[in-house]
Structures are given as structure tokens and as C-alpha cells.
């Protein structure tokens, strides 16, 4: 047992001496820390976009809620359902009911142009016609300013994300779309979900405004339980009167977010990877200079009997600690700069804008710090091996 303890004590001592000598080479050490901080900040920052977008999409769907589209439709944009079909869907087994009837909302989805507050350029904003159960088939939708529109009137309520991102959506102002002017009577939130990017009105009024007759594009339903989904789906897909696609809301939104999430994640990793290569060279440079500056010190320690393995591990710990300092700095900067930063982007499945907030999650921070650790280990390895393998006798005479 004394052997490993002695070895650990050697590692601890050499590491301590290395860390104590950092002030003498603070320029190189600072450059490395900042370089690695940059990699981590960019990685975490870019991935926080994907995390925020994904969260906006996935928070929208609960496992006991489903959405019904026309068979073959990937999104509401290309779906269509008649009134009779929506009634059959609402009356299907598994759909939760209240005294007012089934918790099903047949909905209409159109896109309008509104200027972005940030750039002034037009963006596609979803205008959704809903039925009375709309607030119950979704989680966490609540009015946070003003009131709900009156059923049968051409009034709208606006999601908090849309109100923040797009111009002219304040309570009290009027929206002119279709054949009508639509007073904005309230703002609603949906716990950061995709609904916050939308404008809602009474589906029947919207049908009339857009000459849609009695057609809808989707039916949102609340089920008795998550387990009721399969029976609900089977009853609809085996019904010869219907030709529909039934998915859980959670799966629907996950699928909707997939393209953008994958794109952002891939780009994020690519950028971070390229930056990481640069950072590895920075770390290598720092540790090679550390080894060069301490050649005689390290050789002296080895002459006194400190082992080569302890030298390697100590130098790698030193490199790792420098890198972790960079990782923590980068993660902290990313958190301060990006977390909860609100923006909007195009959802290519619905061709409409989704507002969301960047999310610097603990998982992303851990991932960023793991990257910094990896850079530190790679950057420290070769200089450490060189230090441990250089001939002691020659190194002792280095000035």
C-alpha cells in the first residue's frame, strides 16, 4: 500500500510545483485558458440554440395528448380534415371528456406575414384557429395579459414569444389579415412551448376569413391516459370512413424539431471541433513551454528519485487543470451570454417561425467542460512524455 501512496505523493508534489510555477509563465497559460474558453463558449453557445429549439418543441407535447392529421401529411400545413372526420375523431375511444364534451380541438393553421422586431423583415407567423378545448388539450397554456378572445368574434390572442419577436402584436392593437381586422385582446404563455410562437383565434371565424368552408387541418386531443393512445390510434386507422395519421403530440413535435436540431448540432460540433484543434495546439504549446522552462527542475526531481510516471501524470494534471479553468470560464461566459436569449427561426416542417430561448443546460455545460478536459489531456500528453523520457543527465545541465 505504501508504494501507491508514495507514488500519489510524488504526483501531488510535482503537480503542486508545476502549479506554483504558473505565475512565471502566465502569458502562455492565460492564452491557453482563453483559447479553450473560446472553444467551450462557442460549443455550448451553438448547442444551446439546438437545446432551446428542441425544448420549445418538446415541451409542447405531453404523452397523453395526440394529434390527428390527414394520412401522409408530415405537418399541419399539408393536412386537411372535414368537419365530419373531426367529429368522428373527437368521439373516438380513449379521448378524455368533460361535462362540456370531448377534449378535442379541431384546428386550422394558416400563415401570415409580420415584420420581425429585430430586423424589420417579414417572417411567416402561424395563425391558428382553435376550438374551445384548445387550452385543455395542451399543457400549461394560460392567459398572462388581457383576456381570451370571444368565441364567434374576429379577435385574437397572441403567444408571448410571437408578441416579443414580431411587430404590431401588442394587446389593444389590431391585426389585418384575411378579410378582417383582428383586435388583439390577450397574450398567452405555454411554458416556452411552440404555441407561444402562434396567434390564436376562433377556428370558425378563421375558416370564414380564409374561405376554408368547414375544413380543418388537424385535431388535437387529450386522452384518458398515455396508455390509451394505442386503442385511440387503432380505432381511427381501422375506421374505413377515415384516412388519418395519428401521433402522440410529443412525437410530433420531436419530429418537427429534428431537422433544425440536427443541423444546428452538426454545425455546432463542426465549428467547435475545428476550434478545438486550434486549442489543442495552444495547450501543446503551453505545456511544451512549461516543460522547456522547467527542464532542469523536472530533471532534478527525477535525479532525486521522483519517477518518470509521476512526472507524466503530474504534467497531464497541470494541463488538465488549465484546460478545466478554460472550460469553466467558457461555460460561464456561454451561460451569461446565451442562456435565455430569445430569438426565432424558421421551422422547415411548418414553414413558419418558432420563437424560442437559448438553453444553456447543465448537460451542455458538462459536455463543454468534458471537451475542455479532452483538449487538456491531448495537449498535455506529448509534452509530459517528452519531459519524462528526456535523459536526466543532459537535462540537469539545461539553463
Amino acid at each position: 500500500m505504501a508504494g501507491p501512496i508514495n507514488w500519489l505523493s510524488q504526483v501531488g508534489s510535482i503537480t503542486k510545483f508545476g502549479l506554483m510555477s504558473i505565475p512565471q509563465r502566465r502569458g502562455a497559460a492565460t492564452a491557453t485558458i482563453i483559447g479553450i474558453a473560446g472553444v467551450v463558449a462557442v460549443l455550448v453557445g451553438v448547442l444551446s440554440i439546438a437545446a432551446g429549439f428542441k425544448q420549445a418543441m418538446t415541451v409542447s407535447g405531453s404523452p397523453d395528448a395526440a394529434i390527428v392529421l390527414r394520412s401522409g401529411a408530415d405537418s399541419e400545413m399539408v393536412s386537411g380534415l372535414g368537419r365530419e372526420a373531426t367529429r368522428v375523431i373527437a368521439d373516438s375511444p380513449g379521448v378524455a371528456r368533460t361535462a362540456q364534451g370531448p377534449l378535442a380541438s379541431a384546428e386550422l393553421f394558416v400563415i401570415i406575414n409580420l415584420p420581425k422586431r429585430s430586423t424589420g423583415t417579414d417572417a411567416n407567423v402561424p395563425l391558428r384557429g382553435v376550438e374551445a378545448a384548445a387550452l385543455q388539450v395542451r399543457d400549461n397554456v394560460r392567459i398572462i395579459q388581457g383576456r381570451l378572445f370571444e368565441w364567434g368574434k374576429n379577435e385574437v390572442i397572441v403567444g408571448s414569444g410571437a408578441a416579443r419577436e414580431f411587430g404590431g402584436l401588442d394587446v389593444g392593437s389590431t391585426l389585418k389579415v384575411g378579410r378582417y381586422e383582428w383586435p388583439i385582446v390577450g397574450i398567452f404563455s405555454a411554458n416556452g412551448g411552440v404555441s407561444e410562437s402562434e396567434i390564436w383565434s376562433d377556428a370558425r371565424v378563421l375558416q370564414d376569413a380564409y374561405n376554408r368552408g368547414d375544413s380543418f387541418q388537424s385535431v388535437y386531443v387529450r386522452l384518458n391516459s398515455p396508455g390509451a393512445f394505442q386503442a385511440f390510434k387503432d380505432s381511427l386507422t381501422t375506421n374505413p370512413q377515415l384516412s388519418v395519421k395519428v401521433v402522440r403530440q410529443s412525437e410530433y413535435y420531436a419530429e418537427q424539431s429534428e431537422t433544425i436540431t440536427r443541423l444546428i448540432t452538426t454545425l455546432g460540433f463542426l465549428i467547435a471541433f475545428l476550434m478545438a484543434i486550434g486549442a489543442v495546439f495552444g495547450a501543446l504549446n503551453t505545456m511544451y513551454s512549461a516543460v522547456a522552462a522547467r527542464t532542469r527542475e523536472i530533471a532534478t526531481l527525477r535525479a532525486l528519485g521522483f519517477g518518470g510516471g509521476a512526472v507524466v501524470v503530474s504534467l497531464m494534471i497541470e494541463s488538465l487543470l488549465l484546460a478545466l479553468a478554460g472550460g469553466l470560464l467558457g461555460g460561464g461566459l456561454a451561460y451569461l451570454a446565451f442562456n435565455n436569449f430569445h430569438t426565432s427561426t424558421m421551422n422547415w416542417q411548418s414553414f413558419s417561425q418558432v420563437t424560442f430561448a437559448f438553453r444553456v443546460t447543465p448537460e451542455l455545460l458538462v459536455r463543454g467542460i468534458a471537451w475542455s478536459a479532452m483538449i487538456g489531456v491531448i495537449g498535455g500528453l506529448f509534452p509530459a512524455i517528452r519531459a519524462a523520457r528526456s535523459p536526466i543527465a543532459a537535462a540537469l545541465r539545461e539553463l
Binding site: 510524488q10 530533471a299 532534478t300 521522483f306 519517477g307 539553463l399
Partner: protein
């Protein structure tokens, strides 16, 4: 020229050391024989490049011979693995370097403590040994000082305290006065002489200074890879 006897501490037999510089072979030591009895103060002299530091490094286990054997207290150094050789150095050898080789970020007492970190002594025991070693070199009052605040002579005395703190079998000094003025050098030589005479330390000292070698009990001369008892002409 060999000192034979039952109390031989260091035996160098048929040692050859060749360095390679590109394709060129440089023969530094050739079929070299040396015996150093326990308790001797031996000076190893020779011109620059004669191989005296190389020989000292071989005896101290810092390098390995190309051919031949080096034994210290019956241990064949050329047969030890790097790991065991490092442990052997920690246990048996104290080094004193020309440029002191102190850790600039550590105080005198922490520098002296370094070799003790490789032992199983407790912190209190280490502190006791450090104090004794610093007292032996007359630097008790400077134990909290950093190397940059000490004179060259004082730094070398810290180096000697570090070399003797583990009570090693052998003290190897490579040009210990080479970077000091005459007065400081004399103090260091007095110290080494005292360690040999009063404490029975076996010391091998590499030097090119006849004034320094005069303090040793025996001087051998190295030239062109061979030892002789006569100074190099």
C-alpha cells in the same frame, strides 16, 4: 590505481560509454576501472569533455554504461529498471549540482525536504530531519528564505543540505564550487570536508579546480576516457 578492499562502496568495472551524435560515435569512457571505499572523499579531475561528469552520472544511476558494470554497495545499477533505479537513487544517493538546482518556488526548508517526500517519514519527522540538515550546513536562520534571496554560497549549502537530508550512502558533487567565488567555494569545501571527516560521508566530487581537489583524500584524473593518478599534462 585501484583501491581494493572489503569496504569497497563503489565498483566500476570495464565501463565504456559511447554517445551518438547523428551517425558519429563519441567514445567518452573506455574500459574504465574504479574502486571507491566507504568513507572516502574522492576528487575526480579532468579537463572539460574528459568524461568526469559522465562517470559521476553512471555512479549516481542517472545514466547507464554502454558496456561494463557499475555497483554501489553491492547493487548492480546497470541491471535495475528505470523505476527501481529512481527508487535506488532516492534511498542511496545525495546529489550536489554546480548550479544548485533548487526549486525557485520553494523555500530553503521545502527544497531540503524534497528527497524526504519519497520516504515514509511523517511530516513532523521530515521537519526534524530538515532542521538537522540545515543546522549542519549553518543555514538554520535562512530556512524560510526563497533561493532568489540567498547568495550563491548559501544556495549551494541548501543544495548540500538537500543532498544529505536522507543520510545517503553516497554524496555525489558535480563541480560544487564551479559557480562560486573563492571565499564561498572554500566554505563549501570546508563543509564537504567536515561531512567526510566528522560524519564519515563517502563523497565523490567532480572538479577541474586543483584548489578544490586538494581538499579530497584522494584525487584521480580522467583523460580521454581513462583514469590515472597523475594530473593530465
Amino acid at each position: 590505481m585501484n583501491t581494493q578492499g572489503n569496504d569497497t562502496l563503489v565498483s566500476v568495472d570495464g565501463v565504456e560509454k559511447i554517445f551518438h551524435r547523428g551517425a558519429e560515435e563519441i567514445h567518452v569512457l573506455s574500459n574504465l576501472q574504479l574502486r571507491v571505499p566507504s568513507g572516502e572523499f574522492l576528487a575526480l579531475m579532468g579537463p572539460s569533455g574528459s568524461g568526469k561528469s559522465t562517470l559521476l552520472n553512471l555512479i549516481g544511476g542517472l545514466d547507464r554504461p554502454t558496456r561494463g558494470t557499475v555497483s554501489v554497495a553491492g547493487e548492480r545499477l546497470d541491471q535495475l529498471s528505470d523505476h527501481r533505479l529512481a527508487a535506488w537513487r532516492a534511498r542511496h544517493v545525495g546529489f550536489v549540482f554546480q548550479l544548485y538546482n533548487l526549486m525557485p518556488m520553494l523555500t530553503a526548508e521545502r527544497n531540503v525536504e524534497l528527497p524526504l517526500l519519497l520516504t515514509h517519514l511523517s511530516k513532523a519527522e521530515r521537519s526534524q530531519h530538515v532542521k538537522a540538515a540545515l543546522a549542519m550546513v549553518g543555514l538554520s536562520h535562512r530556512e524560510r528564505h526563497y533561493p532568489r534571496t540567498l547568495s550563491g554560497g548559501e544556495q549551494q549549502r541548501v543544495g548540500i543540505a538537500r543532498g544529505i537530508v536522507t543520510d545517503p550512502t553516497l554524496l555525489l558533487c558535480d563541480e560544487p564550487t564551479g559557480d562560486l567565488d573563492r571565499k564561498a567555494g572554500d566554505e563549501i569545501l570546508n563543509l564537504l570536508q567536515g561531512l567526510n571527516r566528522e560524519h564519515g560521508k563517502t563523497i565523490i566530487m567532480v572538479t577541474h579546480d586543483p584548489h578544490a581537489s586538494a581538499r579530497a583524500a584522494r584525487t584521480v584524473h580522467l583523460d580521454k576516457g581513462q583514469l590515472s593518478n597523475e594530473p593530465v599534462k
